[in-house]
Amino acid sequence: MEGLSVADANLVVYLHPSKSRNVSQAILRELGSWLFKFNETFDGVLLAYDVNILDKKAEILSGVHPYFAAKLKANLLLFSPKPDMLIEGKVMKLCQESIHVIVLGFSSAIVTAENIRGELKYKNKDREELFASKSHKRHVIKVGTVIRFLVKSFDDEILHITGSLIPAHTGSIRWLDRNLEEISEFDRSATKSRDRESLGDKTNDDDIASNYQLYKEISCSQLVGNVATESPCR
């Protein structure tokens, strides 16, 4: 799956003096408040972090409230889906008009009927709704199937993805993985060429999050931590 990356970050978090009694807790709280939110500096949604406090000493900012700057080094797991990336998610709801998917357990995605290729037809058999391929009988998408789809857009406030099942190499990943050769003949010009070796590694439908591709180095400068307010998870 694309869109996941691990980054090394050098962070500076500014803490209110009242937090000086328990600095590590304050830092963890601050970083915790960034989870599952889109962060512009990282250009992605923070999913997980592993932090090391670099120095016991911290610089004090002069001012009305003498905040002090804690320097950190962190490993960040980021999720930043961009258009034309291939993402995988589990189907939660299926109807003639749309397929609703959840990606990585927290991000909702929708593929509307206009973005489903003609090959996949909606069927309602015995109250079970599904999309079945006209040309490949085994290729079926039901509630609970994990599908791979193309990202069309990403709403970074709600973390909502609109996707497309138009390209030939999208659909149920179980079927896709088994039929790699057939797909490779299809036109791939719609997508940018990227590393496809991960396709072959996929064996387990549920094992999405563990597969990440890029490893970026981000050196994040001054990150103003908003520690004056209580963290939202009160």
């Binding site: 008009e97 749309s98 959840i102 509307t112 709600i158 939202p232 009160r234």
Partner: protein, 665 residues
């Protein structure tokens, strides 16, 4: 919707339809009027299970074809209406919007039309564009489920859910619309108490909360956004209508609902915050009585019926009951209702076995909000009730947390003093705590005070040793209530009484500094129980408080703060009463009559308010007279005790009489 009859309809032969019979009738009328203009034969409604319009025979059509409007037909019609706006043709779209706006006094076929339209829209959400269809969207979001019956409400909920999950842009708007359905429209508020109103309420709320769950299933982060929206939408306390009561009911329902794990604790804390806000709005003067000079006659509020009756009698009439002053106070009534809602919610939590977890949130909320609020009057009964529902876990945990707060030097002074005041009042008033537990808590306090004495070698100095004096006062206060139970246990004497004696006899002299009414009662009981001998005689002359006690209490008068004094809110009190220790129920050690059944009816009289002494510039002082809880027996000879007629009586009559303890508020 006034569907344009499209020739393609005539050729379809799908098998099902969801047209309501009334809608079919309407469509028949429309079709026939159109058919007339086209000089076509009219149609009849086919009776039977499948509602359809039977067409007259046309050459192109098979004989047994029946025209049914299928779901997909209507959906595609709506889609066409929506997309045609983009190309400039607004007619069908405007008709759609018209149907949505038409909401009052609907005839059955109009209801059916609305339901059909909503269902079709739910299928066509992907065609709704936020800019081009803003009038439709605003019409949808301004609809209130309270105005409609169950079918339309279902269809509306379905539409909202579909909208919310289809596009991130609509999520907040949809959640906001659902939250606005927490409260009924103004005209409905009065009907809430009627059976019809209750039925509608149950119907709407269950659909609203089910919609939240559905949205959360497909958009996992929706509860997070819902949190902010619910908190923002809370009616302020200045909305004098009952909207906040039903809103809080919804918040508590969210807490116990299916997304409760995600939003529950924030909801509870917000509710407690709102309770404190209301509490603070009730000024102490609202609870105070008019006639100070005659002495305040405050009831222990043991017999509610008696209170109502007695107020009619002339001899009691001259005294105004403090609770009566609250009657008609709308904020007090509101607070009362909200507290009762919270109590009922706690009861349901306890039944579901979740109370321990909910209690942790309450405890956190208590420390952040209630403890730091200046002399909260009633909001703290929430945690009292929670403790009462589960004495072994919650009850003991509350006391332990308070003790921890008291002994920690790192906590600010007012917090520590406030914590020990809460602890003292709690240990005295909680009927459900075991004597051994109370003893162990007291032991901790005594040990702390002893250690303090040993490390501090000073003279009487109320300001410097505020926390110490408040600790001592707490111990004495609890012993006034519980001494009789402890006296007979020899082990307690060693562990508790001897260290206490050392503390009381120390140079710091807490007996001189602490609240005189408390000290006096304590010494009287201690003497009767022969706990220890006090060398110095303390003559307080029935003073409620002294210069020294005022000094240690500080500006906030934490020396006279007894938070769990009887609750003055009527409905609340009926919940709290069974688990509450009233002073009149306490048998002090100097009362030796064991053999009467009506020992509960002991006459107790309290010090009246010494208002003359206490009036000074600070407003609070006036009310703080009320805060004296200690009741003393009539044998005390203070001349300024009121209530001469009660002096004569040796004991209270079997019918419980009001005690005279100026219960604090």
């Amino acid at each position: 919707m006034e569907a344009r009859v499209n020739c393609s309809f005539l050729l379809k032969s799908e098998t099902y339809t969801f047209i309501h019979p009334a809608a079919a009738k309407r469509l028949q009328l429309q079709f026939n009027s159109l058919a007339k203009t086209l000089s076509l034969p009219s149609v009849q409604i086919k009776q039977g299970k499948r509602m359809g319009l039977e067409l007259p025979k046309y050459p192109e059509i098979e004989e047994d074809n029946v025209l049914n409007f299928t779901d997909s037909e209507l959906v595609s019609h709506v889609k066409n209406a929506l997309t045609s706006v983009l190309s400039g043709d607004q007619n069908s779209y405007n008709q759609l919007v018209g149907v949505m706006h038409h909401s009052k006094h609907l005839a059955p076929d109009e209801v059916a039309l609305l339901e059909t339209t909503l269902k079709a829209l739910a299928g066509a959400v992907s065609s709704i564009d936020v800019t081009h269809h803003d009038s439709l969207l605003s019409a949808i979001f301004s609809m209130s489920m309270w105005n409609y019956g169950p079918h339309v409400a279902d269809a509306l909920a379905e539409l909202i859910v579909s909208l919310a999950i289809s596009n991130g842009k609509y999520l907040d708007l949809c959640l906001r619309m659902l939250v606005s359905n927490f409260t009924p429209p103004p005209y409905f508020l009065d009907k809430l108490k009627l059976p019809r109103g209750l039925e509608r309420k149950g119907q709407v709320l269950c659909r609203v909360h089910a919609a939240f769950k559905k949205i959360a299933d497909y958009v996992p982060l929706a509860p997070l956004r819902l949190l902010t929206i619910v908190l923002q939408g809370m009616p302020t306390i200045y909305h004098k209508d009952r909207a906040i009561v039903i809103y809080v009911e919804n918040m508590l329902k969210l807490e116990s609902g299916e997304i409760g794990e995600l939003v529950g604790s924030t909801m509870l804390m917000a509710v407690v915050d709102r309770l404190i806000e209301l509490d603070v709005e009730i000024g102490w003067d609202a609870i105070l009585q008019d006639d100070f000079s005659k002495g305040i006659f405050e009831m222990e509020l043991e017999d509610m019926d008696d209170i109502e009756e007695e107020s009619a009698e002339p001899d009691v009439g001259e005294f105004r009951l403090s609770r009566k002053s609250l009657v008609g106070n709308s904020i007090a009534e509101l607070l009362d209702n909200l507290l009762v809602l919270t109590f009922e919610h706690l009861e349901s939590c306890e039944r579901e076995g979740r109370l321990a977890k909910v209690f942790e949130t309450l405890l956190q909320s208590f420390q952040i909000t209630v403890l730091s609020a200046y002399k909260s009057k009633f909001a703290q009964f929430v945690i009292f009730y929670a403790c009462a529902l589960d004495p072994e876990n919650c009850g003991m945990r509350f006391a332990t947390v308070l003790v921890e707060l008291f002994v920690q030097y790192s906590q600010p002074q007012p917090t520590r003093m406030s914590a020990v005041a809460y602890l003292a009042s709690y240990l005295s008033r909680a009927k459900f705590l075991s004597a051994s537990f109370i003893c162990s808590m007291l032991k901790r306090l005594v040990d702390w005070c002893l250690e303090y004495c040993e490390t501090h070698d000073g003279d009487v100095n109320p300001n410097a040793h505020r926390v110490f004096y408040s600790g001592c006062q707490a111990i004495m206060y609890v012993l006034c209530f519980r001494m009789k139970a402890f006296v007979n246990v020899p082990r307690l004497k060693l562990q508790l009484i001897m260290p206490l004696e050392q503390v009381l006899k120390h140079k710091l002299n807490p007996l001189k500094v602490c609240l005189p009414s408390v000290v006096e009662e304590f010494l009287r009981q201690a003497k009767a129980a022969s706990l220890f001998t006090v060398s110095e005689t303390f003559i307080f002359d029935g003073l409620l408080e002294s210069e020294l006690s005022r000094a240690f209490g500080g500006l906030e008068r934490l020396d006279t703060f007894f938070p769990f004094d009887p609750c003055l809110l009527k409905r609340c009190d009926s919940f709290i009463r069974p688990m509450f220790v009233f002073w009149s129920m306490v048998k002090p050690t100097y009362d030796d009559d064991d053999d009467d059944g009506s020992s509960d009816d002991e006459l107790v009289q309290d010090l009246p308010n010494e208002n003359e002494d206490m009036m000074n510039g600070i407003d609070m002082d006036e009310f703080d007279c009320q805060l004296q809880k200690m009741s003393i027996t009539p044998k005390s000879t203070s001349s300024h005790k009121f209530g001469g007629r009660f002096q004569e009586q040796a004991r209270m009559p079997s019918r419980i009489r009001p005690s005279t303890s100026p219960e604090s508020l």
